[in-house]
């Protein structure tokens, strides 16, 4: 027997991920300088899209990686917004400080809610979570202290100068968006991430390998609720006004499903590509009103049936391009010549 051990290493980075990382750093740096020179309108648009990106990253983690397709994530988005409002208007907490606290509070609410939601599976989980979101909407619409059905304004920001408010809100959105991408990336590369991918592929098989299915799914659900709460707090921090119908509308999830499916579900790049596309479509076609929405719906249907991997999934598969590699690759080196 003359087997020479072939030297190998397990590689996690790709050339694209290194180049992409450098480009991303420059891009974020340019964005971070926006408050000094950019138009307020740009920053408002960015804030809105940052909220969609955070929300979509979390929905993608939940549905694309965790296999839990929810139509009820707007529950946590709305709760994040209202938590911000209550802390700011009634608790006297600085609204900027209240943003992360609102996200944590939302996550705490998700813990008991998961007990109910996890009774359902598959499509029934999807509609059941929607019912839960409706319960939150109807409950808050009946609380007159927060404006009831017609909502109220975030008066806590009254004393803060406009330029300060706009800049800080923008930076918070930027930091949160980058952090949410980084968080999902880091999570998926961790041991728990590997466990999550195993669960998505087969719950029974992964359980037999010692993966704690329930704990992992719960963890993902809580992280997704945290992210949704963060997105909600940021959105209504920029919007200054909140109402139950705006906060808990199923449209949040509808647009997010569109973003993730078009971009590519189950990839980290997908929601980013999807948000950029959604921003462009919104910018140039939203004036067509109902027909625009019909178009979005049709596009989602066609992409789901014909390109189930989404735009990014298609390119990644075709050109083997991975900016956020979560998989491990075996790299074999040439055996030494003797």
């Amino acid at each position: 027997m003359n087997t020479t051990a072939i030297p190998f290493e397990v590689s996690r980075a790709t050339r694209a991920s290194r180049a992409g990382g450098a480009v991303a750093v420059v891009f974020v740096a340019v964005l971070a300088s926006f408050p000094w020179w950019a138009d307020h309108g740009w920053m408002r648009e960015f804030n809105e899209m940052a909220c969609y990106l955070i929300f979509a990253m979390m929905w993608n983690l939940l549905a694309g990686y965790g296999g839990m397709v929810s139509i009820g994530q707007q529950a946590y988005l709305g709760l994040g917004g209202y938590a911000l409002l209550v802390m700011g208007n009634f608790g006297g907490v600085n609204p900027f400080v209240a943003v992360p606290i609102a996200a944590v509070l939302t996550m705490l609410v998700a813990l008991p809610v998961s007990k109910i939601a996890f009774r359902l599976q598959g499509g029934y989980f999807a509609i059941g979570t929607w019912v839960i979101a409706e319960v939150f909407r109807l409950s808050i619409a009946n609380v007159s202290a927060v404006g009831g059905g017609s909502g109220t304004s975030l008066t806590a920001l009254r004393g803060i100068e406009k330029s300060t408010r706009v800049s800080v809100t923008f930076w918070l959105c930027l930091v949160s968006a980058v952090a949410s991408v980084a968080l999902v990336y880091w999570f998926l590369r961790s041991r728990q991430g590997l466990a999550l991918l195993a669960i998505r592929d087969s719950e029974i098989a992964s359980e037999s390998q010692g993966v704690n299915v329930r704990a992992t799914k719960l963890g993902v659900y809580l992280v997704a609720a945290f992210g949704a709460g963060l997105a909600g707090a940021l959105y209504f921090l920029g919007n200054l006004r909140i109402s139950p119908d705006a906060a808990f509308t199923v449209n949040w999830t509808a647009f997010t499903i569109f973003i993730v499916m078009i971009g590519g579900i189950g990839t980290i790049e997908g929601p980013i590509v999807g948000v950029v596309l959604f921003w462009l479509l919104n910018k140039y076609f939203s004036e067509y009103g109902t027909w625009y929405l019909v178009g979005l719906g049709l596009l989602a249907i066609v992409v789901t049936i014909k390109f189930p991997r989404g735009l990014w999934g298609y390119f990644a598969h075709r050109f083997d391009l991975h900016f956020f590699p979560v998989q491990r690759r075996l790299v074999l080196h040439e055996p030494p010549k003797d």
Binding site: V69, I71, K115, I116, R119, L120, G122, G123, Y124, A126, I127, G128, W130, V131, I132, E134, V135, L138, S139, A141, N142, V250, A254, I257, F258, M261, T290, W291, L293, V294, L296, G297, L298, L299, A300, I301, T304, I305
Partner: protein
């Protein structure tokens, strides 16, 4: 006291309508194990279809809705059968829901519409001295009961029902026994669409409909199915009634909490009896 009795009776009758909403959903889930998130929008689509048919056929208003419903049934069956392997995923039906809502809004505007039924919607039948129930809600309830009986009979006693159950239990084994699952799926979708057409027409006669109403109906239908237990049409009827009565009681206590009460009873059911009242399938 009579007020509460009235509330309960109204709730039961409302529950009949919810049960009708739910039966198509129950069938599609029972046979194909898939969740049609556009279900409520299909009901609204059917209501608007009947509305247009009534205007088009120009019969006296007492007869027109029933003729329209009759005309709608084969169309609905054909459409359902034609969809065949209908709704490959939740995302597709969700996209479809958005398309239906917005096309309806474009065609009919956002104004609420109602199907003219020649005064049937305001006629009532007196029960005792102080209590009267609406004639149309009573008819709807009767149709709901009849449909539950018919569907349960179809499922339990006929060859089609056996095929439905076989494909639902194990598609591959059923194929080996010579069943074509696509044909079975198409039949189930066709029948579900017939139920949707009936429910939609009656809903449009009883009250007003507007293009954005679908999601609410989807949630009621879904709740009725889960409360009743999957796979049982009597269960679905019972689930619809429980939901209707809960909402009616909630509305009576405070109009802001009626729908909320229905949702909460559903969630409580999930916590304490997750398989529903009369589960047949798992």
């Amino acid at each position: 006291m009579i007020g509460w009795l009235d509330t309960i009776v109204q709730g039961v009758l409302l529950g009949g309508l919810y049960a009708l909403f739910a039966m198509g959903q129950s069938l599609i889930f029972g046979v194909m194990r898939l969740t049609n998130t556009a279900h409520g929008d299909f009901i609204i689509l059917a209501a608007f279809g009947a509305f247009s048919l009534v205007l088009a056929i120009g019969l006296p208003p007492a007869a027109a809705p029933w003729v329209a419903m009759g005309a709608l049934l084969p169309i609905a069956f054909g459409a359902g059968y034609g969809l065949q392997d209908p709704l490959p995923s939740l995302v597709v039906t969700f996209g479809l829901a958005i398309v239906i809502q917005n096309v309806l809004q474009e065609v009919y505007s956002a104004d609420p519409r109602s199907i003219e039924s020649g005064g049937l919607n305001i006629a009532s039948v007196p029960i005792g001295a102080d209590l009267a129930v609406g004639t149309l809600p009573l008819i709807i309830f009767g149709i709901a009961v009849a449909m539950a009986v018919a569907m349960q009979w179809l499922f339990d006693r006929t060859a089609i029902g056996r095929a439905f159950r076989a494909v639902s239990d194990d598609r591959d084994a059923a194929e080996l026994m010579g069943l074509d699952h696509r044909h079975i799926y198409a039949l189930a979708t066709g029948i579900a669409f017939v139920l949707v057409a009936i429910a939609g027409t009656l809903h449009g006669m009883k009250t007003t409909v507007s293009p954005a109403d679908g999601p609410a109906l989807l949630l009621y239908a879904f709740e009725a199915v889960i409360i009743g237990g999957m796979g049982s049409f009597y269960g679905t009827l019972a689930g619809g009634i429980i939901l209707g009565v809960t909402q009616a009681i909630g509305f009576r206590i405070d109009p802001g909490w009626g729908i909320w009460a229905g949702h909460v009873v559903f969630l409580a059911m999930l916590l304490f009896r997750p398989s529903g009242l009369f589960p047949k399938t798992r």
